[in-house]
């Protein structure tokens, strides 16, 4: 079946990227995988009208982000235990202070308002333009700019931008 083959190829190519987006949106690897899979199943259902891989990619990303925002509103306990964050971060490549930095970044993102977090993740992890981010979130470009500026300021206040320019980055 052409549809299933195309979809399987799409999943193989994009699954990890979606989980990465979900991970920063939620701070939880398991939840991120759930979101990515939910978004991909919806993409499968819409496959006939998406037609192009670029449409499918945009659809999957948009669905995942909106599911993440909705899920946050619905979950009765959205707090991410620190040890779970640390455990999920443990699989990442190690380096001096790497786990600490990963943990601190995820904590800092979790502390941001969901809208700011979504803008940062889409702009700086998924490399979406301001216009694309605005379209994905259904907000204006001006709102994207202001949320990005506030989000960056929060990361800077937490000292994370300075740490990224330090020894771990070399």
């Amino acid at each position: 079946m052409a549809r299933d083959d195309e979809f399987a190829e799409f999943v193989a190519a994009r699954y990890r990227a979606l989980v990465r987006t979900g991970l920063l949106m939620t701070g939880d690897r398991g939840h991120a995988e759930d979101l990515a899979q939910s978004a991909l199943i919806r993409t499968y259902l819409a496959w006939g009208r998406l037609r192009k891989p670029t449409n499918a990619e945009a659809y999957a990303r948009r669905t995942l982000v909106r599911l993440a925002l909705r899920a946050r509103q619905r979950r009765w306990n959205a707090e991410i235990p620190a040890e779970r964050v640390a455990r999920h971060g443990a699989g990442a490549p190690a380096g001096p202070g790497h786990d600490d930095l990963v943990l601190d970044v995820r904590r800092a993102l979790a502390a941001l308002p969901p809208g700011q977090r979504a803008v940062l993740v889409l702009r700086y992890l998924d490399d979406q333009s301001e216009a694309q981010t605005a379209q994905l979130l259904g907000i204006s470009v001006g709102t994207v700019k202001s949320r990005a500026a506030r989000g960056l300021a929060s990361l800077r206040r937490a000292g994370l931008l300075d740490r990224e320019g330090g020894p771990h980055d070399r």
Partner: protein, 461 residues
């Protein structure tokens, strides 16, 4: 290094995944296929609920019996007498229903079989097993608590993504399959099958040529004729004209009459919903139009509403009908058209938002809509089953975490809405939350649920 570069590097590092996080391609494909088939099967739930309502009333009123007993029928597509609304247990009675196990289906574990209630029997046709579509069927008689196998249908009648409608005497089923074969014959031209439970046999009718190559999307029973609507959903070109064909089939004479309505200019049909009310058939045609200029495309979409009258002519009754909503599983209750919660429609090429719309009642004459408030399953876009006097909402596939003191929602969860009081209440889910093979069927006095492993459950008094 700029702040932008630093934050990119930071987020990229924080999102690193360990090796071995392989994409679950097979599982996603399986879930996607199941969900797609469940959506298709929703239309079966809708037509079966109408059939159940008719079946309850038909034995009581000789003039409405199939075969046109009673006064001579008019020459139109509708019977001389309108169908009455069916009675059913009161919501207070349903709230005290309980679950019991009935004998398991002899067909074993299946996904997405066609289920239909005839008034006395549950019919199970086709379904997939390990990705292969089956051709067999079985019938269950709740009074005798017995299953029996039904004969295989011959000819080119397949059950995959089929539409079906109970006519009061036969189950009409077709998927418009056009098989390849060297010369036109019964084995390759598209057919509909009609299964008669009383005679335990199938008969065939060839679809009219205007429907060849189209996908049947909706079927309705007027009391005299099956109205079948077919369209070309995914033509592969954005600006394809999108053919539509509608035909009426009279089971008594075996004759087809093509009655395709004229759609507004530049409104090609993509998806169709249909319901038969008293003396009218309402057809919803979801259309879209893609305009391309300077390498950019814009999608313009909407919904046309057409009414087929008893004189066999169509009228455009779109008026102020919402242009951005699918019409999910419309069911005629006898006094109103009940539509289940569903998804936004914004065109084939449009990336629709994940939001949805609530269920509603529509007046069959004016099409004025009355929204049904979201209940305990509101966020899950549940399927509505009309019981004659109440709505049972069933979550078919959504899992949602709890919040604000409310518990989580999971597939199989059910709720009851009492139109008399306007109140929702939770109903008990089937024990063990089994995976559903198909949407449950309201069978006059009980809700029948076939599970993916072939077990049959009853929610009853």
């Amino acid at each position: 290094m700029t702040d932008d570069q630093r934050v990119r590097a930071l987020l990229s590092r924080a999102a690193e995944l360990p090796d071995g996080a392989e994409p679950p391609v097979g599982r996603l494909l399986g879930q996607g296929r199941r969900k797609r088939k469940l959506r298709a099967a929703l239309s079966v739930l809708a037509v079966t609920a109408v059939a159940a309502a008719v079946a309850v009333a038909v034995p009581l009123i000789p003039a409405l019996r199939p075969g046109r007993a009673g006064p001579p029928a008019p020459s139109g597509l509708f019977p001389a007498h309108p169908r009455p609304s069916a009675a059913g247990p009161a919501a207070t009675q349903i709230s005290r229903f309980r679950w019991s196990a009935l004998p398991a289906s002899p067909l074993g574990p299946l996904s997405q079989p066609i289920l239909a209630w005839t008034g006395t029997k549950l019919l199970e046709l086709g379904g997939t097993s390990r990705g292969v579509w089956e051709f067999h069927g079985a019938a269950f008689n709740p009074a005798a608590r017995r299953w029996h196998l039904i004969p295989a249908v011959r000819g080119n009648v397949q059950f995959q993504n089929a539409v079906s409608v109970w006519t009061g005497r036969q189950l009409f089923v077709t998927n418009g399959q056009f098989a390849r074969c060297p010369a036109p014959s019964v084995s390759c031209l598209p057919h509909a099958g009609l299964y008669d439970p009383a005679a335990d046999r199938w008969s065939l009718t060839q679809l009219p040529q205007q429907m060849w190559g189209l996908e049947p999307m909706a079927a309705a029973w007027t009391g005299r004729d099956v109205i079948l609507a077919a369209a070309q959903p995914n033509p592969g070109r954005l600006q394809h004209p999108g053919r539509l064909a509608v035909a009426a089939y009279d089971p008594a004479t075996g004759h087809w009459q093509v009655i395709t309505p004229r759609l507004p200019a530049r409104h090609p049909a993509r998806y169709l919903s249909m319901v038969a009310t008293t003396g009218r058939v309402i057809l919803w045609s979801l259309w879209d139009q893609v305009n391309t200029s300077n390498h950019a495309a814009s999608d313009h979409a909407g919904v046309d509403v057409l009414a087929l009258g008893s004189d066999g002519t169509w009228r455009d009754v779109t008026s102020h009908w919402p242009q951005e909503q699918n019409v999910t599983s419309p069911v005629f209750t006898g006094t109103a058209i009940l539509v289940s919660p569903g998804q936004i429609w914004c065109g084939q090429a449009c990336i629709s938002p994940p939001s949805s719309f609530p269920g509603y009642f529509a007046d069959p004459v004016t099409l004025h809509r009355t929204t049904i408030p979201a209940g305990p399953l509101g966020q899950a876009d549940p399927a509505f089953a009309w019981t004659g006097r109440a709505i049972i909402a069933i979550d078919l596939d959504a899992s949602i975490g709890g919040h604000d003191g409310q518990g989580p929602i999971r597939p199989d969860d059910m709720a009851l809405w009492d139109p008399a009081t306007g109140h929702w209440q939770r109903l008990p889910a089937p024990p063990g939350y089994p995976k559903l093979a198909a949407p449950p069927i309201w069978a006059g006095k009980q809700l029948l649920e076939l599970t993916g492993n072939g077990n049959l459950l009853s929610f009853h008094r």
